[in-house]
């Protein structure tokens, strides 16, 4: 998974912010995923059309956490969200 990869929310997805967390819901299947504050920042990042690399860098700076660790954590999250068809990769035009 290249760090310059871009992701976007799947169609038919409801995004609800709850405090500093976020709940993603596939409206056509009813499957949902609750994300912690870091996950919420990832969702916010892809909504702003940032690449995975840009999102990792932003979170790393904000939380004073090594980039590589944030990158590993987010890759796990991305895998799960892609598996559940909540997000999808795309090539920016």
């Amino acid at each position: 998974m290249p760090v310059s990869q871009y992701y976007r929310l799947s169609p038919q997805l409801s995004v609800t912010e709850v405090d500093d967390e976020v709940v993603l819901l596939k409206l056509d299947t009813g499957s949902y995923f609750g994300l912690n504050p870091i996950g919420a920042k990832f969702v916010s990042g892809i909504q702003q059309e940032m690449s995975l690399h840009e999102i990792c860098a932003s979170i790393s700076e904000q939380y004073q956490t090594p980039y590589i660790r944030v990158n590993d954590d987010l890759k796990d999250l991305v895998d799960q969200l892609v598996d559940q068809q909540l997000i999808e990769a795309y090539e920016p035009g």
Binding site: V23, G30, S31
Partner: protein, 346 residues
């Protein structure tokens, strides 16, 4: 936000409420949102909150579809009680749990609603039926494996005969407001508050849930002086001043709801008159006495006999389903025995 006073009264929460108590009162998410309970001590609530948020989004979509379909078919149901208030007075709709969404409709349009619900994939749930024994029907649609939207369709404002004519559809509809987010018409805040007072005692005479009282608190907190005046006049006019006053006073003691003394004075004065609805303030009134008042509220002997017949002898299909028996004789005997026990126990 929510500051229920603590004490030994059954309507208040203990100092450290358990999740079960909060669940009973329907205020767990509300308590979490204002820090009465914490995710540090109840981490399991995080998952439940995500589920509530997701379920709300599913139900919202279905309600929007229903609202649009009604509009396209020239129907104008009034969404009221929990689902409407969740979007009208709560910071987030998922803070207000409910098992169904209530809509008030014109009785003359029931066949059109039945047809529309069928087209939209709703199924009518089994319930006692008749001209007088019930003024509502429930339609349900599965939204996912675990979530369904239940619509309670009401053609009178309350199932109790004493209260059933307190507000007509045409009256409430003539003053209706809109919930833009859902595409439904709804009651004005004044009407909503009065109907909530009816619902608290008429439909749930022996229950007291803080969620219902908190609905009233939030509605009351947003009323203008002119709306308070209207509320007092309307409660007086409809002979529901005593039960309105009782609900407001309880909200005041629980949540410090601001109620002008001039308004409580008007309601107190009106409540001194004999109001049939005040019977429901006697929370421990035996069931047989309530039945007697219910019968008296019907206009004539023919209607009373009909109500008794519908109450005592429901349809064979209902009896078999409800009592889980093939034999109608056994089903009726068992139901009669249960009814007698309930009346005497109360």
């Amino acid at each position: 936000m929510i500051v229920p006073r603590h004490g030994s009264d059954k309507n208040t929460l203990p100092a450290a409420p358990s999740i079960e108590e909060l669940d009973y009162h329907g205020i767990t998410m509300l308590a979490l949102s204002v820090g009465t309970v914490s995710l540090d001590t109840h981490p399991q609530l995080n998952q439940r909150r995500a589920m509530m948020v997701a379920n709300e989004a599913l139900k919202k979509q279905a309600l929007q579809e229903l609202g649009l379909a009604c509009s396209e078919n020239g129907l104008r149901p009034l969404l009221f009680k929990g689902s409407a208030l969740a979007y009208l007075v709560y910071p987030q709709p998922w803070l207000r749990p409910r098992t169904d969404s209530d809509v008030f409709v014109d009785q003359a349009e029931l066949p059109k609603f039945e047809e529309l619900f069928s087209q939209l994939g709703y199924q009518k749930l089994f319930a006692i039926e008749g001209d007088l024994v019930s003024y509502q029907a429930t339609y349900s649609k599965a939204l996912s494996d675990k979530v369904a939207l239940n619509i309670d369709l009401h053609w009178r404002i309350n199932n109790r005969q004493i209260l059933s004519n307190s507000f007509s559809y045409s009256e409430l509809s003539s003053r209706a407001q809109s919930i833009q987010e859902l595409g439904f018409a709804t009651l004005t805040p004044v009407d909503h508050l009065l109907v909530a007072c009816l619902h608290r005692l008429g439909h749930h005479q022996r229950e007291e849930r803080l969620a219902w009282l908190y609905d009233m608190h939030l509605l009351a907190e947003n009323l203008s002086p002119q709306e308070w005046q209207t509320l007092a006049e309307r409660a007086t006019d409809k002979q529901i001043a005593a039960i309105t006053l009782d609900a407001l006073m309880l909200c005041q003691s629980l949540f410090e709801t601001a109620v002008e003394m001039s308004i409580t004075d008007v309601l107190k004065l009106s409540a001194k008159q004999t109001e049939p609805s005040a019977i429901f303030l006697q929370r421990d009134l035996p069931e047989w006495r309530i039945l007697r008042h219910e019968l008296a509220a019907l206009e004539n002997t023919k209607l009373r006999l009909r109500w008794l017949y519908e109450t005592l002898i429901p349809s064979p299909a209902y009896m078999r389903q409800q009592m889980q028996r093939d034999s109608l004789l056994l089903a009726h005997s068992e139901r009669l025995w249960r009814g007698i026990k309930r009346i005497f126990r109360s």
